[in-house]
């Protein structure tokens, strides 16, 4: 009882200001929305739930803190193999940070940016905020920002990175589907696993159901965590390619001109890149003939472009300045065993 009182006391201190979600011009400061009780510690307000994804997008080893707000008494409709159809007033909140929380880290955490996808008038709008040096506030960013910084990886190495906060248009490069902005991550197949909530562990979809956010029965093949050793090589590789590539490499996406489609459900070999000739690849082909040559990772353009750090060659086109070494190994193994 005491505990309950305590939480209700805390919860009433900061609440989400829904009128700001609907407002035409986004506020200058992230704190104004009231998504967080404690900005620096990223402690969400009442009605804002943290979540994570089974298979996340790689962004230069940045940690991602995800939150979702859905207005009271509204529901998100399940769409098989697609992102939930969220109601107006929904906010997807994602903070990019280097938490530097590995044991042997001797530098403190750094919050970089917080991106919002907000749904109003049945359309999604993207807004970005860049954190200040004091790390207690994030400010609206239009043209993006370059943050040259360092972080500590899981092996304790100090890594330099030219972290790039995308501008509003660059956000759209990935988040556009058939000319409309859309979220990428929150599909049922990518959420269906347990999460450590402050009051206990629970399956995320069950939690959302208990919250009254979803009512439909969900039935689809789960993605797998690409780093999960117990999953099959194929499932891991396809999950990785799906979340890292398929937002553009899908029919209606930014890269559909190429005819290379990498979403989890794609099963046409040529569209997956197997013995597929490049179309408008230019020097990014590296004098290779096909996107994927089964058994020959070194002859596969797809892997070459994952390895590259040259902006005219590398994939994805934006959001990456470092190699994702573990994923390169994974895709290397996958192609070798195709």
């Amino acid at each position: 009882m005491l505990c309950l009182l305590f939480f209700s006391y805390l919860d009433s201190s900061v609440y989400v200001k829904e009128d700001l979600i609907y407002q035409d011009k986004p506020p200058k400061k992230l704190s104004e929305y009231g998504f967080f009780q404690d900005m620096n510690n990223q402690k969400p307000s009442d009605g804002v739930l943290p979540y994570d994804l089974i298979s996340p997008l790689f962004s230069d080893y940045a940690d991602k803190l995800r939150f979702i707000y859905i207005p009271e008494n509204e529901i998100a409709t399940y769409k098989p193999n697609k992102v939930f159809d969220f109601p107006n007033g929904t906010a997807l909140i994602k903070t990019f940070a280097y938490l530097n929380n590995y044991q042997n880290s001797n530098i403190s955490k750094q919050l970089l940016e917080t991106r919002l996808l907000i749904k109003k008038n049945n359309e999604w709008v993207n807004v970005s905020y860049v954190w200040n040096d004091e790390q207690n506030e994030a400010f609206l960013s239009i043209a993006g920002k370059t943050i040259s910084t360092k972080f500590v990886n899981e092996f304790g190495d100090l890594i330099d990175v030219r972290y790039r906060v995308p501008n509003i248009n660059q956000c759209k490069e990935c988040h556009i589907s058939n000319k409309k902005i859309t979220p990428i991550g929150p599909k049922a197949r990518n959420l269906n696993r347990d999460f450590e909530y402050f009051n206990g562990r629970m399956n995320q979809l069950t939690k959302w159901h208990n919250q009254g956010w979803i009512v439909d029965e969900i039935n689809e093949k789960n993605m797998v965590d690409w780093s999960d050793k117990s999953s099959s090589l194929d499932a891991k590789a396809r999950s990785y390619l799906d979340i890292n590539c398929a937002h553009c490499h899908i029919e209606g996406g930014s890269a559909d001109t190429s005819g290379l489609y990498l979403d989890y459900t794609e099963n046409r070999k040529i569209n997956l890149g197997i013995f597929k000739k490049p179309v408008a690849t230019g020097r990014a082909s590296n004098n290779l003939s096909y996107s994927i040559v089964p058994g020959e990772p070194k002859k596969s353009i797809l892997l070459f472009r994952m390895e590259s750090l040259d902006p005219g060659i590398m994939m994805p086109e934006s959001g990456r300045a470092l190699q994702h070494k573990e994923a390169i190994e994974l895709i290397n193994e996958w192609i070798k065993n195709l």
Binding site: A143, G144, R164, G259, A280, N287
Partner: protein
Amino acid sequence: MIKFLKLFNFSFLIFISFFSDSKTITIYPSADPYTEIQEALILANPGDIVHISEGFYKLEDSLSIDIDNLTLQGDGINKTILSFKNQMSGAQGLSVISDGVTLQDFAVEDAKGDAIKVKGVHGISFIRVRTEWTNGPDELNGAYGLYPVESKNVLIDSCVAIGASDAGIYVGQSENIIVKNSRAEFNVAGIEIENSYYADVFNNHAENNTGGILVFDLPDIPQQGGHHVRVFRNKSINNNTDNFAPEGNIVGEVPRGTGIIIQANSHVEIFENDIGGNDTVNIAIVTYGYETEDENYYPHPRAIQIHNNRFTKSGNNPDLETGELAKILYELSDKNMPDIFWDGILPMKQIIFGQPDNEKLILGDNGSATFLTINPIKYMLPIFNPVERDYDNYRGTITPLPEVKFSD
């Protein structure tokens, strides 16, 4: 008097709204030009003009436009220069994804990838825009200079494209296209129309490329079956730069010294061009040469008409190193290269029963141009000489294709 006042008020309102509808934002050189230009491009309203004044702007990231009917305007093709020589991120110099944008009077130099990519828009105008890789031909240059794709109503007028490692001016998977008064030099392909419908390419100058003007159709991509392309009153001359495309790309197969290539496509009309001085061949009409499982794809050129072109000598120094085309032609022609070459490849059914009349190649008057094709039946039976050089066999009545019109 009252009437007069009312009238006055009304016209005053129009005056106000006319000016408040569209504003001009001017950018000057500064310490952080990227942020200034990109913010202006994002905060502009539809119909606004973003004016970048004369200067050399060093940019580390790619620029993008997503506002309808925006005009991005410089002070001249050699005056406002957006240089991406030190580009750190972004796959293009400039990208456009909104409708009705006009780009004019500036240059994009040394982009790490494509110079200007425009995707999925309704209406795009490039007017007096230059894209260039300033170090000259190099396989490390970006693929495309001017690169509209999956778009409708594309205008490219009085532009310049230099040094692209694929195509200087490339229009792909688009519909209703006009490319005119432009110059393409030192690219692998000067001007390329690929997997597109209704294109007029005229009054352009393609010189010193590997191939001058290409009309291509490829399988395994969303829009295919390119058709209705008119190439007329262009100069495609001296396209004798060695092919510097990275391997794996289809243009990597283009032999040095090619004036015009038509690959697959239907309804292509080539007329009143000046074509000459090309070391391999002036015009080649060819089938897509790779196996494909794409059932929707038709690999053979159909309904091609060539007339009233002025040819000067070509084929003096064919490129036997690149692709198969020049080598085969050189052997078959017994070193006597024609002005116009058709590979003669047809579906088996047509080899046996003949080609429908409305799909045949038609040659009009082309002065003293020479012609060569290969008879596929004789080619398969090695006792015959498969080479046919009789121009008159392909003479016929020209049915002009309609002029391209932009649609709503």
